[in-house]
């Protein structure tokens, strides 16, 4: 029976969606503010290097993606690509690892780089 698992995945996806909605608004607003009068790599790094608030915010963003994305991807794999449940979940787990690694690597890169 997968009832408990599905119910839990549903609320985790809901909670992570709420976090993501907030993160996306802050992210887009931050970008609009930051690009006033042009933007260079040096300017970005000047703001992000050693900035703990920035690192914490984007770490939260990445973790919310890590929770949210695989749940939806597994459904898409199953329904649109006709994958078996096992294969769909395994493939989505690979995406989870990729998002986690690439996301946190990027946060670390602009914080400490």
């Amino acid at each position: 029976m997968n009832a408990v698992g599905e119910a839990k995945r549903w609320y985790w996806q809901r909670i992570s969606a709420m976090v993501l909605a907030l993160c996306v608004v802050v992210h887009v607003a931050g970008m609009i503010y930051a690009v006033r009068g042009g933007l260079s790599a040096a300017e970005i790094l000047g703001r992000t290097r050693g900035n703990l608030a920035f690192a914490a915010f984007y770490t939260t963003f990445v973790l919310a993606c890590v929770v949210h994305v695989p749940i939806g991807l597994a459904k898409i794999f199953e329904e649109w690509l006709s994958m078996s449940r096992f294969l769909a979940i395994t493939t989505s787990k690979l995406f989870t690892i990729m998002i986690l690694f690439l996301g946190l690597r990027a946060v670390y890169g602009v914080y400490a780089g």
Partner: protein, 243 residues
């Protein structure tokens, strides 16, 4: 709208089973003619072997739903003037259900899903107990009332993409039935029902696309009930009641 006595409709009707073809018939156009009138005319005058299903003709029994010009509809309450394009109709059996023959589909799987979703009322009172008091304005009674008028026509089931993708998905009608019972304060099989409707063949498969809401001839919103089931199953899972 006044219609000339000589006007005719060109009606393509599905003949066969899962494999078959459309046959075109010419049917006299009448005022206030329904799609069911058209099918009945064909069966009585042009094609006696045509298989289709109807009973009440007034939108109560839910047996005459068909695909009309690509959309699932109740044919007894669908006027030709509303759906004909250039005086043409294409009438096919409901989608997502096995075709028995022509326009008649096998509804067994559809109603078996109601049973799987624990669509039966399970009370605990006997004839010796007093009537249960259900406050008409209570939140639960209003939620049940919103879904209770389902006539089981299968239009939502035929219109649902998720049913097409996942044949084991309970579908909007069965889940709507479960939702009305979940909101019935007299029912005593609530945990059992939540267990039955949770899972990837249950309410969690719904993508909230809303085709069922749009096409339900009784203006029921199964999507709202399914969202309610998702909330309740989440709470039940948190409390460990689904284990």
């Amino acid at each position: 709208m006044s219609i000339a006595n000589t006007a005719t409709l060109k009606v393509s009707v599905w003949r066969g089973k899962a494999r078959g073809a459309f046959t075109t018939y010419e049917v006299p156009r009448r005022e206030s003619q329904t799609v069911l009138d058209v099918v009945t005319y064909i069966q009585r005058n042009l094609e006696p072997g045509l298989a289709y299903r109807f009973a009440c003709r007034v939108g109560m029994c839910g047996s005459c739903a068909m695909t009309v010009n690509g959309r699932a509809r109740w044919t007894c309450r669908t006027h030709v003037s509303k759906v004909a394009i250039d005086e043409r109709l294409e009438i096919a059996p409901l989608a997502n259900l096995p075709v028995i023959r022509d326009l008649a589909t096998d509804m067994r799987d559809f109603f078996d899903k109601w049973a799987r979703a624990k669509g039966q009322f399970k009370g605990s009172l006997t004839r010796y107990d007093d009537f249960a008091v259900v406050e008409p304005e209570s939140k639960q009674r209003r939620a049940a009332s919103a879904g209770i008028e389902c006539i089981g026509c299968g239009v939502c089931h035929a219109s649902c993409d998720v049913v097409a993708w996942r044949p084991d998905y309970l579908g909007p009608a069965a889940l709507n039935r479960a939702w009305t019972l979940v909101n019935d304060v007299r029912d005593k099989a609530q945990t059992e029902r939540l267990r039955a409707v949770a899972g990837d063949a249950g309410c969690h498969a719904c993508h909230t696309q809303g085709s069922c809401n749009e096409r339900c001839p009784k203006q029921i919103e199964p999507t709202a009930g399914i969202a309610g089931l998702k909330r309740l199953t989440a709470l039940a899972a948190l409390r460990g009641e689904l284990d």
